[in-house]
Symmetry: C2
Subunit: 141 residues, 2 copies
């Protein structure tokens, strides 16, 4: 099954990146402004258009499973692996479990890149571009 993969390096300690992935306030700063719920292991995060169950949230890895949202997303898993290397936190991202490489998957791949750069901007510059003020990747996005 095809996966969406990305990698960004962030000029911030892994603990700060981890916090942005495991707190509602953090997630509001780079992905979805209206995020609600519980971002700790076992909790469910409500991103409005989808909900994610938190499967894992160790210092090295944050992993969610989509439990509602776009049909193509339900059952898929999103993983962030964090490592300190070359004086930066390397984030290896994977959105796995897509059944088919549909056009929507292409769209989500590009969109995830912009959100990971939003995460980077949040940590390096103090503010990201979470939805609904996210980077637009097509007319009408």
């Amino acid at each position: 099954m095809p996966d969406i993969l990305h990698r960004v390096g962030i000029n911030a300690k892994p603990e700060r990146v981890h916090e942005s992935l495991t707190t509602i306030e953090g997630l509001r700063g780079w992905w979805v402004s209206e995020t609600k719920g519980d971002a700790k292991p076992g909790g469910t995060i409500d991103f409005g258009f989808c909900a994610m169950k938190v499967l894992e949230a160790t210092p090295q890895r944050v992993r969610w499973r989509c439990i509602s949202g776009p049909p193509e997303w339900v059952g898929t898993e999103v993983t962030f692996d964090l490592a300190w290397k070359d004086e930066q936190t390397i984030v290896l991202f994977k959105h796995a479990g897509w059944k088919e490489p549909v056009e929507f998957m292409h769209h989500c791949s590009t969109k995830w890149a912009t959100f990971l750069l939003s995460l980077r901007d949040l940590l390096e510059k103090g503010s990201g571009t979470p939805a609904p003020h996210d980077v637009k990747i097509h007319v009408g996005d």
Copy 2:
């Protein structure tokens, strides 16, 4: 084998997008400033860090094969499918033929997203961010 997939919508006619993919001047505007060579079918494009053989360049599809460059790239294929839809040119991008989902593949996936948005900016705003003035995605990039 895993593929890198992306999708962007560009507020420009397919003919203009096609031109940016099939002329040296066009490619210099969004991917690599120092691009040289022949971007027509059968030609070889020299991007400095890699070279691509042009396998196909119809109005709907541009396809290259990497013939030199990073070892992980050699033999891989890059495809741009163009379609006019909802008053914009939809670009479906695929970089296929990776042997393994190595960390460098994650990096290239994110980087391709930024270059496709550079292509969009070139066509919509008149200038892109080709290398070496490309969007940086890690410290030291």
